[in-house]
């Protein structure tokens, strides 16, 4: 297969598309929309997963409040003892005086009205990893070793809910993405089937004059790739624009978490992800259709 032939094969592939132009455009539009939804779903699922998986520190911390009568020495001893626990990464002490001062600076009327400091020493215990949080909280709540501990507050419940939610979103996202990829594949498959039908004379002549099987397949594979790649190009551009719009809106909400979660998508990532998906789906669709409908 020489360079001359590549031009010829591309031209024949283009003739295939032009032969049923409206069908091709409809297929292209469908592929583009499907890939766009696929890209959007995948991106959303990825973002939610990322928020939970990559910023676990805020859910890793357990608040331990000491009984009011506890002396500073006892509190420091508990802090040291907890630091020695293998499930613990760090223990930060906020003394009741510090808490009182902070409260006073934010709400002076309250501290004046209360006069005496009713607050307790607080130890913020950070778990070594997010999967250790609930185990650690359970241990802190049930231990008898440190009778000075009054109360243990953990984010266990919220983490569980969020993790579960993220998993559901991700699984639904994956299922939807998979179904959409399959739908795209079927569209390409059907388009190639139509081409094989409308070009049966050409295929017959190619066989009779001794074209090699690859020469016969090539224009059909080009056509499948064309749908996959052009569809993904259109989908990428649409998705990038849509994500930029969403991002611009969420920046105005003054919520760092939402802003981070909906950050504009990197164009290169989208082009690569959708381009590869589109190419793979187009290639697979055309190869399956050739296998099924072209007798070589």
């Amino acid at each position: 297969m020489n360079i001359n032939s590549v031009g010829f094969l591309l031209h024949e592939g283009w003739l295939n598309i032009r032969r049923h132009l409206w069908m091709s455009l409809a297929a292209l539009a469908t592929v583009a929309v499907t890939l766009m939804v696929l890209g959007g779903t995948t991106w959303t699922a990825y973002r939610i997963h990322e928020i939970v998986a990559q910023e676990p520190e805020q859910f890793n911390v357990i608040d331990v409040f000491m009984k009011p009568a506890t002396t500073r020495e006892e509190t420091l001893a508990v802090q040291t003892a907890l630091k020695g626990n293998p499930m613990v990464r760090a223990v930060t002490l906020t003394t009741k005086e510090q808490a009182w001062a902070k409260l006073g600076s934010s709400d002076p009327t309250l501290t004046t009205a209360l006069q005496d400091n009713p607050l307790m020493d607080r130890l913020q215990v950070q778990a070594r990893s997010s999967d250790k949080v609930s185990q650690l909280a359970h241990w802190l709540k049930t231990q008898k070793q440190f009778p000075q501990i009054m109360q243990v507050n953990d984010a266990d419940y919220e983490v569980g809910v969020l993790m579960g939610f993220a998993a559901i979103v991700r699984n639904i996202g994956l299922a939807v993405a998979f179904a959409l990829a399959a739908a795209t594949l079927l569209i390409v498959y059907n388009t190639i089937r139509l081409t094989v039908y409308s070009r049966r004379r050409e295929l017959q002549i190619m066989k009779l004059v001794g074209a090699t099987p690859w020469f016969i397949r090539c224009p059909l594979i080009f056509e499948g790739l064309f749908h996959g790649i052009c569809g993904s190009l259109i989908a990428s551009i649409a998705l990038i624009i849509a994500a930029a719009q969403v991002s611009r809106f969420t920046q105005t909400l003054h919520s760092p978490l939402i802003a981070h979660a909906s950050a504009a998508i990197g164009p290169l990532q989208v082009f690569i992800f959708l381009g590869l998906t589109g190419a793979l789906v187009g290639l697979t669709g055309s190869i399956l259709a050739i296998h099924r409908f072209v007798r070589l």
Binding site: V209, G210, A211
Partner: protein
Amino acid sequence: MTTTTASVATQPVSQRIAIALKSVSVLYPGHCQALSNVSLEIGAGEFVFIVGASGAGKSTLLKLLTHEESCTSGTIFVEGCDVSGMKVNQIPALRRRVGVVYQNFGLLPDRTVYENVAFAMRVTGAGRREVIRRLPEVLELVGLQSRPDAFPGQLSGGEQQRVAIARALVNRPSLLLADEPTGNLDPETSLGIVELLHDINATGATVLVATHDVAIVDRSARRVLEFADGVLVRDEACGRYGRGVLEDCGEAV
């Protein structure tokens, strides 16, 4: 090396074997015996008519030679290649050496005469330049040099068949197979097509014509193979369509 050269040199071109069938049978699914125990040899450069009633097995014989059908038993040699034991990836090379022409022309209706013929070159890997060089001479050979831009629908049946012949010849095959090439044509046009086939044969190509056109066979006075229900029943060096002696057989092989 020396002996090979010598043996080729001592063998006249006309006696080289182009096609050899040994005890070939074709059994289609459904127990239809299309060919039974056919053995024959055709020399390079011969012009042969294959005659017989419809369903006699003429088309099947031609399809065997391009491996469109494969035989149930026996061996087939085309230009020295064992077609019956051929691997799938060798079929394209075989078909490039064998041109085929059909009753219904098989042209692409949305391509011009030029494009129809060029198509056969391009799909076998020829470049644009080769096409530009080769096309005018092959169109002139079939007498269509003045109509390269016509579409098949704008041509008469005879002209369409000439395009099909040009397409079959464009890759310079050594063997040309024509299955009922005049089946859709009126008698006068048919004679023109047969003359063209004779001209092609005169340039050295082996030509096989399957037909049940009595007139062209009788006028041509060439070798005739007659089939009946898949059996080769007659092989005459200078025959006519039916049985009987042909007086004027001077020029035949």
